[in-house]
């Protein structure tokens, strides 16, 4: 037994991701070594042969994500893990998976960039790359864990989303979350929902791999199951064959968009702590959310009250909730481990009279609770 069901253990964030993948039923992993994500590949190299599932170290990140797509087309639930430079290389395959609608999970343990940057230090520099890294309009789901338990749970959630929406899902971890150790209580086996791989139930001759349905997602047949079809990165019709017919191109592109935008309720996950009653809110995600909660507690002791708003699902951005809840605030402080990325989305969704104040840290270290406290006191 690899996942210690029902037990309480002190483990690392990256280890929790590897265990979460096993709990979600991972059948194929392909990756390329890169700090600070490597533990995920290393642990799965140990676990997966024991389970008779497939693990491979490819020649680079482009090959890794390509192999992932091939494996999922042949029916294996697939995941890879990387960090910034590898994430850049994977954008090609990510776009293909969006276009061909192939579920997969991509874990990005973020480090300092650009380029080789700060390999062993933390950053949140890939937030916009996660949204717009690959070329062309495309759907994206990205979720950001903030603690070790969430690394476990959200890896499973990422697999579930990928199957439900038939699209790649990015788990946007960071170096702090990936390398920190926390005690976590594992649930009992069976307490977690694991989404099965949807399979078509129509006769072979009726099967359309990109059939238009109410949910905008149709089941993907596995190669070898008797449903022969064509897969391509070219814009394609419902059968999967390339098309340039205006109507079919527009239908495909809109369906890719709508499968996310018309099911936002299933994807949105925000955490709010005393947000509604206070005029000042700290907007934070990933490892910074931890500092935000600590800062909130420190301020409370000084009789200064602030709220904390955390998007768990970063993409799609929780537009409606941010508008509804944060538009009435006086000040929103947005601490980020970058020079300002998700802050633009907050600005986009709030009116001009709301002061949206950035707090950056780009030297590879965490934003401390004290820094957030000081920033709040300054704007108060």
């Amino acid at each position: 037994m690899i996942v210690p069901w029902g037990e309480t253990k002190l483990i690392q964030g990256n280890e929790a991701v590897a265990l979460g993948a096993v709990a979600a039923g991972i059948e194929f992993f392909a990756g390329y070594p890169i700090t600070p994500s490597t533990e995920i590949a290393e642990l799965l190299a140990k676990y997966m042969p024991l389970l008779g599932t497939k693990w491979i170290q490819m020649e680079d990140e482009i090959a890794s994500i390509s192999a992932l797509i091939g494996a999922r087309l042949a029916g294996a639930k697939s995941m890879t893990a990387t960090s910034g430079p590898g994430f850049s290389l994977m954008q090609e395959g990510l776009g293909y998976a969006c276009m061909a609608e192939v579920p997969l999970v991509l874990v990005n343990v973020m480090r300092g960039g650009p380029s080789t940057g700060l390999p062993t230090q933390v950053a949140q520099g890939d937030v916009m790359q996660a949204r717009w890294g690959t070329h062309g309009d495309h759907p994206v789901i990205a979720i950001a864990p903030s603690n070790v338990k969430e690394c476990f749970e959200m890896t499973i959630r990422a697999f579930n989303f990928s199957e439900q929406f038939r699209t790649p899902v990015i788990l946007l971890s960071d170096e702090i979350i990936g390398h920190m150790r926390e005690r976590i209580a594992f649930p009992s086996e069976g307490d977690l929902h694991v989404e099965p791989k949807p399979i078509p139930d129509v006769p072979v001759e009726w099967y359309e791999p990109y059939h238009v349905t109410a949910s905008n997602v149709s089941p993907m047949a596995c190669i070898g199951s008797g449903y022969r079809f064509h897969v391509t990165g070219l814009t394609h019709d419902v059968h999967g064959f390339p098309t340039r017919k205006e109507k079919e191109v527009i239908e495909k592109m809109n369906r890719l968009k709508h499968k996310i935008t018309r099911r936002l309720d299933e994807l949105e996950d925000v955490r709010m702590h005393d947000v509604e009653e206070n005029p000042i809110t700290i907007f934070a995600y990933g490892s910074v959310y931890r500092s935000a909660l600590a800062a909130q507690a420190m301020l409370k002791k000084r009789k200064k009250k602030v709220g904390v708003f955390r998007p768990v699902t970063i993409w799609p951005f929780p537009d409606r909730t941010v508008k509804e809840i944060l538009d009435s605030k006086e000040v929103i402080l947005v601490p980020e481990l970058n020079q300002g990325q998700l802050i633009h989305e907050v600005e986009r969704m709030t009116k001009d009279s709301v002061r949206v104040v950035p707090l950056h840290r780009i030297d590879g270290y965490e934003i401390t609770p004290e820094e957030i406290v000081n920033a709040v006191l300054e704007v108060m």
Binding site: E27, F28, A30, P49, L50, G52, K54, I56, M58, E59, D60, I62, A63, S64, S66, A67, L68, I69, G70, A71, R72, L73, A74, G75, A76, S78, E92, G93, Y96, C222, I223, G224, S225, G226, R228, F229, H230, V231, T232, G233, L234, F241, P242
Partner: protein, 280 residues
């Protein structure tokens, strides 16, 4: 009464997807015919065949054959294929690629597929240039040749595809041409049967781009060049080196027994389970 269709038709998406995109005189369709004849003589089930390709003229082939088909990104056919083969080793996986696709942008993937000995057959249609984008030079364009990006002649030496693949560790390496088609059929059957990574380089004309840029004549003249400029491996062995100089050798250069990656991985799983059992 209409004449019955040739048996090849049952392997084609003949009603939906033709006419094809290839130019008059192109060799890729001939390679496709040869693949189909090889598949038919092996009695492979269409459901168990996967054809992956990258980007380019050759990589359009999967649209036309009624297998499980994956038209991937440029150069990545073998990386996608590796995932397919590992996820389901019972599938017969072939990768069809052009020279630019497999050896330039896909160069890293092909040497590692060969080294890993993944049980896939790679068919490289070598027409000396990038056809789809209008005839630019590739890693096999001969020195001195004119292409859209070598207006003053090619100054880079080209790869010898078969030597490269042998050095990288492929289990089966062969070269054929679209002129010597019966020979090619036989080579492909052997390549498909091979357990391990097999590579077949097929020399093919591109009259539209390479042929025109180098004044090699039309499709017929270019076919004649394949006939005249190549010799069989047994002919080559019988000839004096000076007589064989400048000729391209056809035939099977490597045909060795080595355990393919999927079998090695199976053994690894056994080993892992045994050592885990022993440590308990």
């Amino acid at each position: 009464m209409p004449a019955p269709l040739p048996y090849e038709y049952k392997y084609l998406r003949s009603k939906k997807k033709f006419p094809h995109v290839w130019c008059p005189g192109c060799g890729i369709g001939i390679v496709m015919g040869s693949i189909i004849r090889a598949v038919d003589s092996l009695s492979w089930e269409k459901d168990n065949i996967v054809m992956v390709s990258g980007i380019g003229c050759t990589s359009r082939m999967p649209v036309y054959v009624d297998f499980n088909t994956i038209h991937t990104t440029h150069g990545r056919a073998l990386a996608f294929g590796t995932g397919v083969k590992m996820a389901n080793p019972s599938l017969n996986v072939m990768a069809v690629m052009g020279d630019g696709d497999s050896l330039a942008i896909g160069g890293n993937h092909i040497i590692h597929a060969a080294r890993r000995n993944i049980n896939i057959t790679a068919v490289i249609v070598n027409n000396d240039n990038y056809g789809m984008t209008g005839g630019q030079f590739s890693p096999v364009t001969p020195e001195g040749a004119r292409t859209a990006t070598t207006p003053y002649g090619m100054i880079e030496p080209g790869f010898d595809v078969c030597n490269l693949m042998e050095g990288a560790g492929a289990s089966f390496v062969a070269r054929g041409t679209v002129y010597h088609i019966i020979e090619l059929d036989k080579i492909l059957i052997k390549a498909f049967r091979k357990k391990g990574f097999s590579v077949v380089e097929v020399l093919a004309p591109c009259p539209t781009n390479f042929g025109r840029a180098n004044r090699l004549g039309g499709p017929v003249e270019m076919m004649k060049l394949l006939k005249e400029n190549t010799i069989n491996i047994s002919q080559a062995k019988a000839m004096k080196p000076e007589d064989a100089h400048g000729k391209v050798v056809r035939g099977i250069f490597v045909d060795k027994v080595s355990i393919p990656y999927d079998k090695r991985y199976e053994k690894l799983c056994e080993k892992a389970r045994n050592s885990a059992g022993a440590s308990r």
